[in-house]
Each structure stands twice: as C-alpha cells, then as structure tokens.
C-alpha cells in the first residue's frame, strides 16, 4: 500500500504586534518600590551621609585643606598596632564562635534530634547573640574575673584562672566575645545546614562513603562558602565592637574602637582627624569584608539553590 503525504507550503509568518493591556495591577506594581523608601531614607541619613562626611574629614587638615597626614599617621606605631589588635581579636573570636556555633548548629539540625531542641536553641541564640556590652562584661567578671565565683572556686584546686586568662587580654576578650559570636553563628548557619539535601547524604552512603567521607567530600565543600561568609560577619561584628572591651580593659584597651572613642572624647588627647582616619581605616576593612562576604554568598547560593 502506498502512503502519500500531502505537503503544503508553510504560510509566511505574519508579524503581529501585541500591546500589553494597561492594567491597574502593573501600575501598582511599578510603585511597589515605595515600600523600601523609609528604609532607604533611614540608611541615607544615618549611614551614608555620616560615612561620606567621615571619609571627607579623614582627608581634611586643620585649615580644611586636603591632606593624607591623618591616614599616614594611623598606618604607623600605636595606631597600626590597634588595627592589628582589633583584627587579632575579631579573627580569634570569629574562629571560636564560628567553630563552636557550627558544631552546635549541626547537632541541632541532625536527623533524629528532638524538635524542641531546635526551637529552644534558636530562641536562646536570638537572645544571646544580642547580649553584649556592659551586662556581658559583668557576667564574665563576676564568674571568671579576678574575684569571680568560678575563679575563687577553682583557686582551691590550685588553678589561678585570673592570671592564666586575663579577661582584658586578647584571648580573654575573645572568650567573652564568643558568648555572642557562637549564637550568631548558629542563627547564620542553620539555613545553610537545612539546605543540605537528605538525598546527598544517602547517595553518598549508598556509594560507599562513610559519614566522615560524606562531610569531607560533599557537605563541607557545599557548606564552606556559607560557613566562611558567616565567619566574615562574626569578624565584622567583633571588629566593630566597643562597649564590652572598654568595660573589661578600661584605659589599657588598645583596640581601634577604643582609640577612636578616646581621641574623640579627649580621654587621652582630642584629635578628631586621627579618629576620622582610624574610622576610615575601619570602613576600608569592613568594605573589603563585605565584598568577600558577597562573593562567598554568591558561591553558597550556587551550591545550595
């Protein structure tokens, strides 16, 4: 049996211009950005304008002339050391808080963990992450400070806690900062841990991987950008912190934030230009951190999308 197929010439395509109907919905949609206007105004008034003013002032001399003398000054001597001390403290506390917070978050989201544990820990972390300043300093002074309860208690066993880890030193301050750093890490890293699919773990197991091999080859590479990103935020928070350190170290403090406060209030000597230059240095460091953070977030979103 013969089979024939009729082939017709395809009609010429006709260009049709379709005009989108004007609707009230699209009109409303175009005005949705107005919702962020109060926030934008707030940020402009209290962040962008002061930042701009501060940057200008950092390069302004006594006669309102342009000068880099302030910037040059803070790149040497005690001011440079204050940056080093602040970076050391921020890095150490981000490391302590980051590691501790990560392991805690992992335990909270682990398969089989009771659901109340998660809600309890998230609530606690929300509170503890904001517990800083004088109350936090008092909490540590009264427990592991020179005359703290635990310091006195362990003295009976021959341990001198106050001299081994002084709270005003870098290690001591890092320990104190860890109190608000690790809950913040918990809050930041839980969404990333939630993004790990159960199928990845099961697939890895099915393919012969042990739990350690799964974490090493699959989970950690996926989580690493999120972990590092969270630790960058912890670093930034600790780097800019002031009240806790000032309460614990008093006039002996050598962090950038403490120098800025002292220079502005005339505690040592009034030198606003140096304080602006120090603040400018902080802005530069925070900006670099934010760029790094944004890059890490992009990377994290790529894996966990």
């Amino acid at each position: 049996m013969a089979v024939t197929t009729a082939v017709e010439a395809a009609p010429e395509p006709v260009a049709v211009r379709i005009r989108a109907p004007k609707s009230r919905r699209s009109w409303k949609g175009s005005l949705r950005w107005l919702g962020v206007l109060p926030f934008a105004a707030y940020i402009s008034i209290f962040l962008l304008i002061p930042t701009g003013e501060l940057i200008v002032d950092a390069f302004k001399g006594a006669n309102n002339n342009f000068t880099t003398s302030g910037i040059t000054a803070v790149m040497h001597g005690q001011y440079l050391q204050s940056f080093t001390a602040s970076i050391e403290l921020a890095a150490l506390s981000a490391l302590f808080g980051g590691v501790l917070g990560f392991f805690l978050a992992t335990a909270i989201v682990a398969r089989g963990a009771p659901s109340w544990l998660r809600s309890t820990m998230v609530t606690f972390s929300g509170m503890a992450a904001n517990f800083a300043g004088v109350p936090l300093a008092f909490a540590f002074t009264s427990t592991i400070g020179v005359g703290g309860v635990i310091t006195v208690l362990v003295k009976h066993f021959g341990i001198n806690l106050a001299s081994s880890v002084p709270l005003s030193g870098t290690l001591g301050l890092a320990l104190v900062y860890t109190y608000f750093q690790f809950p913040l890490m918990v809050l930041l890293v839980i969404p990333a841990l939630d993004g790990l699919k159960q199928e990845w773990r099961e697939a890895a197991e099915n393919l012969g991987a042990s739990s350690f091999q799964y974490w090493r080859r699959v989970a950690m590479p996926i989580l690493l950008p999120s972990i590092l990103g969270a630790m960058v935020l912890l670093f930034g928070g600790a780097f800019a912190a002031y009240a806790t350190a000032e309460t614990l170290s008093g006039s002996t403090g050598n962090l950038v934030t403490e120098y800025i406060a002292n220079l502005l209030t005339g505690n040592i000597i009034v030198n606003t230009q140096i304080s602006y230059a120090l603040a400018f240095g902080m802005i530069v460091i925070i900006t670099v951190l934010m760029i790094f953070y944004a890059a890490l977030q992009r990377r994290a979103n790529k894996w966990l999308r």
Binding site: E199, A203, N206, G208, A209, S210, K302
Partner: protein, 356 residues
C-alpha cells in the same frame, strides 16, 4: 547479578503499618517494579533493601545472605533517588567517579569507567558540566551512571522519573530498561505510574497497605487482576455490581442482560453478589443508522462525553445499568457525537468477576 529476597518484612511508623509482613523474591537479573499508590509501603521496602530504613522484623537476603546487619555503605547497591541527588559541587564525571574515589581506584581507571558510563547514558559530552547546568532528565541519567559505577549487585530505583516531564519520562524509562537488559543487573523499581511499571518490568508487584496484592508479568496483572484493588489500580476499569444467576453455568445478571463468564475458576454460589470488571478497550459501541436505535448490544445508551487521547478516544455512555466507558480507535470515534444513541456490547471473555 544477585537475587533478592524480602522475607516477612514488617515496619511500623508509630501507629502506621508501612510494611505488613511483605514477601518478595526477585531472581538474578530480573526487573521487578513495586507499584502502588502513595503510602502503600513501596518506598519503605526499597529503603529497607538499601539500608536507609530498618524493618522491625523480617529479612532482606541478597544471594541468600542476610544484609540487614550491614550499613548502607557496605551493601553494594546502586540507587537512584526520586529527587535530584547529584552532588552540586561536582561535575557529572566527578559524580560518577565518586564511589570509585571512595574505594581509592586509580585516577585513570576512574576516569575511563566514568566516561564509559556517561557514554552508556548518552551524556559523554556533558561530562564537565555541573548538575545545575543539566536538565532534570540529564541529571537522572548521570545519577543512573553514578549508581552503576561500582557494578552493584542490585540496582534500586525510587521513582526516578516522577519529577520529569511526560516525554522525557517515556524516553528515559526505555533507556533504563535498555541499560538493565544490557548489564543484566537485578533491578527493583518503585513507581506509582502503572504505565511505567507495565512497560519496563519483567514482573510487577502491586502493593496496598504494606502488602503485595498481586505479583506477575505486566500482562497477567493487567488482564487477570486477582483482587478488586489491582483491577481498579492498574488501568482504567468499568465496575458493575451484579448477581450470580447460575454458579454452575457461570452466568450473571447485569441489568437486563444475562452474561456467561468465560473463566476457569468461578468459586461463587447462586445469588452471590459479585463485582464485574471490564476494561474500556473491551467495550464496543454500535451506532444506529439514520436515526434508528441500534440493535445487537447488551444495552443501549447515550454518549455523554468524548475525550480524545491520541490513538484512542475515550467515550462515556450513560446506560440503564449506569455509566460505561469505552476506548475506541480515534478513527471509529469520529462517527460519534455527544447524545449519539449507541448500543453497548462487550468482548467475549473480557469480563472478570471478583467478590464484592
């Protein structure tokens, strides 16, 4: 190739019985599908075999050896999951190489084997792509290649095609079957899609409430359902409640019609209520000529809906015994329209009677 036996597998989640003393034998090299609705226990059974769930009682034997004591990473089973499960931080090739890397196989061997497997699933050109750069169908192909990398004793597929669109699903299920036949690997395939199960399997096990209702070849399950659940779940079916007129004569009354059933086993008594099952493709419709009422059928009826399904057209007819659905060739159905008066007849031997 390995045989798999599930013996008295029982699993409960709280008060819910997921597996109710399930028994299943899968011969070496066989492709068996576990088919059933959501919550019937098919995935739980598969996960017990894989080592991701542990039954409350029962045994899972692979080549006669109980594997329940082994963790999932020691069972040598390849698994493809319902959700896309490729590691997002690895390329397609790295995903396939993963199990070999874990076993510390030499790099050259890993690479060669991975590329062979990607070739097998038709993705050798996409070896360097990351999962996010692959379509859903391609990701599941890579997952299949990854599952086969260590030449597992058993291949487990947990609804691997359910997230894909219809055309890719059909294409990929045929490829899964081709590869299974090529490698001769024992395969357990979980699906709720009857067409999928019937088209690729050596045998189909229909599950309901944690138990196997029927297991047999696709043709057996489709044409000779043993329970009303199987008859209703596998394929579309017309159901009718009828009365046994004569058990010895195997006759039943369906409305005005008396039907003789051509079945070997007929374990009913006179007056018993039974349910008749009739596939739509076994129903024939006669159209009256020039407005006359058609004759020769079991009963007359009026067409209430016509649904074009491609090669066949599904026609619903309202009759005095209730609605009857018929599948006609689309060419035949062209003569029909809504409200057409038709006679309804059934193919001899097509009726199945099961206890109501």
């Amino acid at each position: 190739m390995a045989s798999v036996e599930l013996q008295g597998l029982h699993k409960e989640f709280g008060n819910v019985v997921a597996l109710d003393d399930l028994d299943l034998d899968v011969a070496a090299g066989e492709f068996v599908s576990l088919l059933g609705p959501s919550g019937c226990g098919k995935t739980t059974a598969l996960r017990c075999v894989a080592g991701f769930e542990f039954p409350d009682s029962g045994e899972v034997l692979v080549d006669g050896k109980d594997v329940l004591g082994l963790p999932a990473n020691k069972r040598n089973m390849g698994m493809v999951f319902q959700a896309y499960s490729l590691f997002p931080n690895m390329t397609a090739q790295q995903n396939v190489e993963f199990s070999m890397k874990i076993r510390r196989r030499p790099r050259s061997e890993r690479s060669k084997r991975a590329l062979e497997l990607l070739e097998l699933v038709g993705l050798s050109r996409q070896a360097e792509r990351y999962p996010r750069q692959l379509s859903g169908g391609q990701q599941q192909r890579v997952a299949l290649a990854r599952a086969l990398a260590l030449e597992p004793a058993v291949l487990l597929l947990d609804e691997p095609l359910s997230a894909l669109d219809a055309k890719v699903r059909v294409q990929l299920r045929e490829e899964v079957r081709r590869i299974q036949l090529e490698l001769g690997i024992t395969t357990l395939y979980v699906t709720h899609d009857q067409e999928e199960a019937l088209s690729v399997s050596d045998r189909v096990a229909v599950l309901s409430e944690g138990r196997i209702e029927q297991i047999g070849t696709p043709a057996e399950v489709y044409t000779h359902p043993k329970t009303s659940f199987v008859a209703s779940f596998v394929g579309t079916v017309n159901r009718a409640e009828v009365t046994v007129l004569s058990a010895s004569g195997k006759t039943v009354r369906w409305g005005p019609a008396v039907l003789k059933l051509e079945t070997e086993a007929f374990a009913y008594h006179d007056g018993d209520a039974v349910t008749l099952y009739l596939r739509p493709e076994d129903v024939t419709l006669g159209l009256g000529r020039n407005g006359t009422i058609p004759s020769g059928g079991l009963f007359n009826g009026r067409v209430t809906s016509i649904t074009f399904l491609g090669p066949v057209t599904r026609v619903s007819v309202r009759t005095e015994v209730g609605p009857v659905v018929a599948d006609l060739s689309s060419a035949e159905a062209l003569e029909l329209s809504i409200d057409s008066e038709v006679s309804v007849d059934v193919a001899p031997g097509a009726l199945r009677a099961l206890a109501s």
